[in-house]
């Protein structure tokens, strides 16, 4: 075979993203059917998407408040990205796995993960995080982009076990510059791993805007280089994010391999509660972006379709408020653990040396506390 022979067996043009991002809902809530991206949801499911977005927004706001009240060390808000996260996660089955970054409260809500437990990471409570195996929702990945590797590896492991699950890695526009997602996508392509790489392009990576992050035409175009289809969608349109992800997930589950999705959205809040965006972007830009609010648009759609009336709207708001209160109480009441517990999960078994250090710290703390009370 000649050296110039292409490695893949696919026509590269079939992998290209569409000329325009997939978009099913207009800002006024008008729905456009797209035969390539069917929305196969019943009325309850359509309402559930709304419920998840409203709950997400409420708990996200409450988490910011908790940080301001000194209850959390830091918090990364997803304001504006509800449709991207909820629509994407809704396309997964219960057995599938999510590998999040640090901004995925919306995906967590959709998976049914306890929001209070999610916040313990930011509070630093010891030994109280959620159990990843319960809702198939992995640990938040704060080192940028690493979760893409975990998702690809998990998918390869599941395939090895003939377990028909799909994994989904959420990461940001900035993360696409790291080696990790690149290497994860290379592996996923070669091993046809059932993984969906879901990029929330929220236009910013802390202070760096997208045009300083990449010279690619779109992030979705990068998919071609790994031999997987690139999808491009309006990330503030929850039906589009759902339908596009659903297509990628079904394909991955069928054994046809991975996909890359770019959902266009906007980070409406600061990068985290420690950040001040006025250093690098204008208020005007933020105000423009706020006009594309994903919840407003979806609410208009549901109302047009007769799926949401004032009563139901209030009911959803009340549910969201109750969830936020429950989360808040959990955080306020959470104790900081015993320092001795810090040794418990470093290794499966204690080594001799390790045991000694536990004793040394115990003795020191006991001596100190003795002195304090004396």
């Amino acid at each position: 075979m000649g050296a110039s022979q292409p490695a893949g067996d696919v026509d590269p043009s079939t992998l290209l993203p569409p000329a325009e991002p997939v978009h099913l809902l207009d800002p006024d809530g008008t729905y456009h059917e797209d035969p390539d991206h069917p929305v196969d949801l019943d009325d309850d499911q359509l309402r559930m998407l709304y419920r998840h977005m409203v709950v997400t927004r409420k708990v996200d706001r409450e988490a910011i408040n908790l940080q301001r009240q000194g209850q959390l060390g830091v918090y990364a808000s997803l304001l504006g990205q509800e449709a991207a996260q909820v629509g994407g996660a809704f396309a997964l089955s219960e057995e599938d796995w999510v590998f999040p970054s640090y901004r995925e409260m919306g995906a967590a809500v959709t998976r049914g993960v306890d929001t209070g437990k999610m916040l313990h990471l930011f509070r630093g409570t010891w030994l109280s995080d959620h159990d990843p195996y319960e809702h198939h929702f992995a640990l938040y990945s704060i080192p940028i982009g690493t979760q893409a590797l975990h998702a690809a590896g998990f998918a390869m492991g599941a395939k090895f076990d003939d377990n028909p699950i799909v994994t989904m890695a959420y990461f940001g526009d900035g993360a696409t510059s790291e080696g990790d997602p690149h290497e994860a996508m290379t592996f996923a392509g070669v091993f046809k791993a059932p993984v969906v790489f879901f990029v929330q392009n929220n236009q910013w990576a802390i202070s760096v805007p997208l045009d300083q992050q990449t010279a690619a035409p779109t992030l979705a175009h990068k998919a071609v280089g790994y031999g997987m289809p690139g999808h491009h969608c309006d990330g503030n349109d929850v039906l589009a994010t759902y339908a596009v992800t659903r297509k990628a997930v079904d394909r991955a589950r069928s054994g046809a391999g991975p996909a890359l999705i770019e959902a266009l959205t906007y980070r409406m809040e600061a990068h985290t509660t420690s950040d001040d965006p006025s250093r690098y972007r204008t208020r005007q830009e933020e105000e423009e972006a706020a006009k594309t609010d994903p919840i407003v648009r979806y609410k208009l759609f549901l109302e047009k379709e007769g799926l949401l009336d004032a009563d139901l709207g209030e009911q959803v708001e009340a549910e969201a408020a109750a969830e936020a209160t429950r989360m808040r109480d959990e955080i306020y009441e959470a104790p900081h653990g015993d320092p001795m517990e810090l040794f418990e999960h470093v290794y499966v078994d204690d080594t001799g040396h390790f045991e000694r250090q536990r004793e040394v710290l115990a003795t020191e703390l006991a001596a100190r506390d003795g002195e304090v009370s004396a």
Binding site: G124, D180, P339, F343, L361
Partner: protein
């Protein structure tokens, strides 16, 4: 006239001092420009030096260090920022396998006069993946110089020395020190790498400390004085080169040694200092060589818990009492 400035502002002043002096010096890293660094330590540099010499990059630590290494080969003197020292792990190949070996493998023909600055260590409740004190990783690699200042004055002087040095230097800024203040005189400040400083003299025990642990060691020395124990405190300032002479001379005088290390216990830098003293000053010793370190665990992020495990003033005092009795 000496001015009182923060460790954070000392970073900016140090970089500006070197960039004004030498056109071949430039700064590259994530969010170092418009945002002025996530710790605001590079604020204002973009305005003064412009986007060619103060460069924001896409998020790739490996490419940042690759750019710095390549530029250093062309004769520039890059300053590369790795936002948190934990992220050195994502680009450790460049540091440990490439930069550290280049001069050696080219028979000295290629030098890499670059500095990697990074926010290191705990104390700000950033948790297990953003709080590691990793100076001992760097110390374990032949070919790297390793510096960790404890105060604004030393930061400027050692930074200038690092920029002017022809070897790759890892420059650890202890992130909990950023808001702390110290006196700094006007004008250019340049110090010498590999020189420890005796910040307090004493006769009964030598305490060797680094970066954020220096202040705590001094506080411990105050408490020890009340108990009638006279402690000498050495600010090590750089791990490579290591100022063995200052350490040995002090131990010869005091006959006791305590190291105070923020890094986790196993193979922390103090184990090197302790073994050096055991070999070279053994017959002068009158007490157990003692190390006060963080236990061999990842750091917790809750405030109370983090404070329990980082070496406290009390633990340093206890360590010294043990060494002396």
């Amino acid at each position: 006239m000496a001015e009182l400035i923060t460790y954070r502002d000392a970073v900016k002043r140090a970089i500006a001092q070197e960039m004004r002096r030498d056109d071949s010096v430039y700064l590259i890293g994530e969010d170092v420009g418009d945002a002025g660094g996530v710790f605001k330590a590079t604020k204002g540099l973009l305005d003064e030096f412009g986007p060619v010499r103060v460069r924001d990059t896409p998020i790739s630590e490996e490419a940042i260090l690759g750019a710095a290494m390549g530029a250093a080969m062309t004769g520039l003197r890059p300053i590369a920022e790795i936002m948190f020292s934990d992220f050195l792990a994502t680009c450790w190949d460049l540091v440990a396998v490439e930069m550290a070996k280049t001069r050696y493998m080219t028979d000295g023909q290629v030098t890499l006069p670059l500095v990697i600055r990074t926010a290191n260590g705990g104390g700000l409740r950033f948790g297990a993946q953003h709080s590691q004190a990793v100076e001992n990783w760097a110390m374990a690699v032949p070919g790297l110089k390793v510096v960790a200042p404890s105060n604004p004055h030393d930061l400027i002087g050692l930074f200038a020395a690092a920029v002017r040095d022809d070897d790759p230097v890892l420059f650890f800024e202890q992130k909990s020190l950023y808001p702390t203040k110290g006196h700094v005189e006007e004008g250019e400040i340049v110090e010498e790498l590999g020189t420890a400083k005796i910040v307090r003299s004493g006769t009964d025990v030598t305490i060797v400390a680094l970066a954020s642990m220096v202040r705590r060691a001094e506080q411990a020395a105050d408490e020890l004085a009340e108990q009638g124990i006279s402690a000498e405190v050495i600010d090590l300032r750089s791990l490579v080169p290591l100022d063995a002479t200052t350490i040995i001379e002090s131990v010869v005088k005091t006959s006791r040694l305590v190291t105070v290390e923020e890094n986790p216990r196993l193979c922390g830098w103090g184990s090197e200092v302790v073994s050096l003293v055991a070999e070279e000053a053994f017959w002068h010793l009158d007490g157990p060589l003692t190390r006060v370190t963080t236990p061999h665990i990842p750091l917790p992020s809750a405030d109370a818990l983090e404070d329990e495990v980082l070496p406290s003033v009390q633990r340093i005092v206890d360590g010294c009492v043990k060494a002396v009795s």
